[in-house]
Amino acid sequence: MRDQLVGIILVVPMLLTIISITLFPLIFSYYMSVHNMTVLNFWNPIFVGVDNFVKALSSSDFWASVRFSVLYMLVTASAELLLGLFLSLFLERTMKGKRLVVSLILIPMAIAPALFGIMIKLMLNEFIGLIPYLLRQIGIRMHFFSDFPIVFTVLVVTDMIQWTPFVFIILYAALHSLPREPIEAAYIDGASGWQVIRYVKIPMLWKIIALVTVFRVMDALRAFDTIYVLTGGGPGISTTTVSINIFKVALIRGDFGLAAASTVIFFYLSMVVLSFGLRTLRRGGVL
């Protein structure tokens, strides 16, 4: 009994911290979303009911940002999952310099996303950037921020450089913890390398793959810093994610109520997407 009490007392500070940084913002968001809350009346908002929700749902900018966020999530999450899986399978074997290669792969993940965006922006500057310079040496002239397809590719590749290491390291660790017997048995039975991967390793990894996918989907849906630094949500609003849209509504337009309503709406839209992932994880016994 006493031990239980001590345990509870030790856990309470952390619980309170988690509650304050998750529950309070959540409740306050709901509060803001039903009020007309701007910079001038922030501490004396006016109750407006569902007005902010109607405004958000009828805003073409909001839906454009939802479409872009979903597209961005689908492309980056799939690409990072495939590349991360490939890298983890490739580096699973014993080879010289593997430790160095793994360390180099992990470096981009250690850089703050906004800073990483600034680095990429400088590297791609058409006049002073390294990459356009190298491309010009082989006769290629490229402008990276003028057309949507190229801009989108830049954003996806930037995200992949930074977050594929996350997928890689989790799958890499999972691969090393797989039991060896089924794999060896498959080889003994004459299975090729590709067959072992497809029929033995990946099925054994699917729970981890599902977990990593859920993480990347959640992260990609709320992408903000790198994109904002690189393009500001432009050209036009073509690369404006939901997070950027909400940021602009809140801090540039100063309409916190509308921004909060947009946040609540997008939260529920995201839950629809995430529910599939969470259901898979529950079925697999991960959750």
Binding site: G234, P235, S238, I252, G254
Partner: protein, 479 residues
């Protein structure tokens, strides 16, 4: 018979030594902590100056040494550290040496030590807004702009502070419009340490005379674009600042107003919004779009703002651009722009001829500090704040690359020797309009920039873009 306790020699000597040591330490501490008697010395410097385009007036100022005697009541016992926020970039580069000077020379006497706090330039004002909304007591001094109209409830009204007999200086040396930009409902909330405008920065080695009209600007841009002139020393004739960031609309607004459009001055916001779909506005935006589509501006210029435009000019790739006056300091610095530092000219935004008279207009706007209403060190903050209103600060700030809103300084020959572009900028400041300080100023510009950017990338026609901008801005302003 009682046995007397004898005191050993060691104990006796130790006690005496301890007493003597204590007396020495206590005496030294008392001497060091003794309040310093200071003689009040006031030096008055009177100078008659003329503000650009305004009447002559007299400025009287006691030099900075007196601040310790008059603002402070006796030597302070404890030093208070205040946090001062500034705008990162040329502005913070200009103020940092002054803060170092203050900490070395003034902090002991005033009891105020200053710590400079910087946030990212791009989101500086949003960051300040967030801190003020959260009622954060720091920074004690916040750097804001004429967007004070949106955050004034969270700033300390300064009129009573400046009216106090403890404040020995004057605010009369500021450009009146610049100071008024920090007034809301008649109360003052900041001081204009920085006055900004946009101008045409051009390569004077390539263009002995800068373009005076919009048509001349387009013609020169074509002449210095290699696609149309293989002999052009620059790759592009012009750099549009097209990034979807709210203040980039200013460049287009200057062009539009110079062509006869309605300026977004205080009180004319709705009139400005209603004029956005006028033939003049559409024509100016069409020119912008044509310049971009015809390759007179780099393809990536739809993502350009201050830094990228400077980089293009400094690399010698672009012949001219509409840019903030702060860029002159960087582009004329041999270390920062070695290729072009001695080739950079400045001129007003191209305009038009009206009855044979050339009309060119630019907006001026101001930036500057205010005191955080929630600061717990307002008294200490105001000591430093008072120093910021001195001519000495203004001159040093100018010397370090900032650009003051003080008329007295701009007309000062010393200032003009320090910053040779002041005579170049004088005609711009004389023919300028003040940007509105409406609380919805930032969202207004955000809407306009977004639509201009959409037109540049071909997502909308110029006509549709400006029509949409007009509708959204009128809805925002309730017009």
């Amino acid at each position: 018979m009682s046995q007397e306790k004898s005191v050993s020699r060691r104990v006796f000597l130790g006690t005496v030594g301890g007493l003597a040591g204590g007396l020495v330490v206590g005496g030294a501490a008392g001497w060091l902590l003794k309040p310093v008697e200071r003689e009040v010395r006031t030096v008055t410097h009177t100078q008659t100056v003329g503000a650009p385009g305004a009447q002559t007036f007299t400025v009287t100022e006691r030099i900075a040494e007196t601040i310790t005697r008059t603002v402070t009541a006796g030597a302070p016992k404890e030093k208070v550290t205040i946090t001062v926020n500034w705008f990162p970039g040329p502005e913070s580069d200009a103020v940092a040496p002054i803060i170092d000077w203050w900490n070395k020379n003034m902090s002991d006497e005033t009891g105020v030590r200053v710590e400079l706090v910087l946030f990212g330039r791009a989101e500086h004002f949003e960051k300040i807004k967030t801190l003020l909304l959260a009622q954060s007591p720091e920074p004690d001094i916040v750097f804001m702009s004429y967007t004070v109209g949106a955050v004034w409830p969270h700033l300390e009204p300064l009129d009573d502070w400046f009216a106090s007999p403890k404040y020995p200086y004057t605010l009369d040396h500021y450009v009146p419009a610049a100071l008024d930009a920090f007034r809301v409902n008649g109360k003052l909330y900041g001081i204009p340490t920085d006055m900004n405008t946009s101008l045409l920065i051009y390569r004077k080695d390539l263009m002995p005379e800068p373009p005076k009209t919009l048509d001349e600007m387009v013609e020169m841009a074509r002449k210095f674009t290699r696609k149309y002139n293989p002999d052009s020393p620059t790759e592009y004739g012009f750099a549009i600042q097209g990034k979807n960031i709210w203040f980039n609309s200013y460049f287009w607004i200057n062009l539009y107003v110079s062509q006869g459009g309605v300026p977004p001055e205080p009180g004319r916001e709705i009139e400005f919004a209603k004029s956005l779909d006028s033939p003049t506005a559409i024509r100016v935006l069409q020119v912008y779009v044509n310049m971009y589509n015809e390759g007179l501006s780099p393809p990536d210029s739809v993502n350009y703002e201050y830094a990228e435009t400077n980089a293009a000019l400094a690399a010698g790739k672009v012949a001219m651009a509409l840019q903030w006056n702060a860029a002159l300091g960087e582009l004329r610095d041999p270390q920062k722009a070695p290729l072009v530092h001695d080739k950079i000219g400045a001129a007003p935004t191209p305009g038009r001829y009206v009855d044979r008279e050339l009309v060119r207009l630019s907006e001026i706007h101001v930036h500057g500090p205010g005191i955080n209403k929630y600061s717990k060190k307002k008294e200490a903050a105001f000591k430093f704040f008072a120093f910021l209103t001195t001519l000495r600060f203004g001159l040093d700030y100018l010397k370090n690359g900032g650009f003051t809103g003080s008329a007295a300084i701009l007309d000062n020959p010393l200032a003009q020797r320090i910053r040779t572009e002041i005579p170049e900028l004088a005609p711009i400041y004389k023919a300028s309009f003040a940007m509105t300080t409406h609380p919805d100023l930032v969202p207004m510009h955000d809407i306009l920039t977004r639509n201009i950017n959409s037109a540049l990338v071909g997502a909308k026609t110029p006509e549709q873009a400006l029509k949409d901008a007009k509708t959204e801005i009128l809805s925002l302003l309730g017009g």
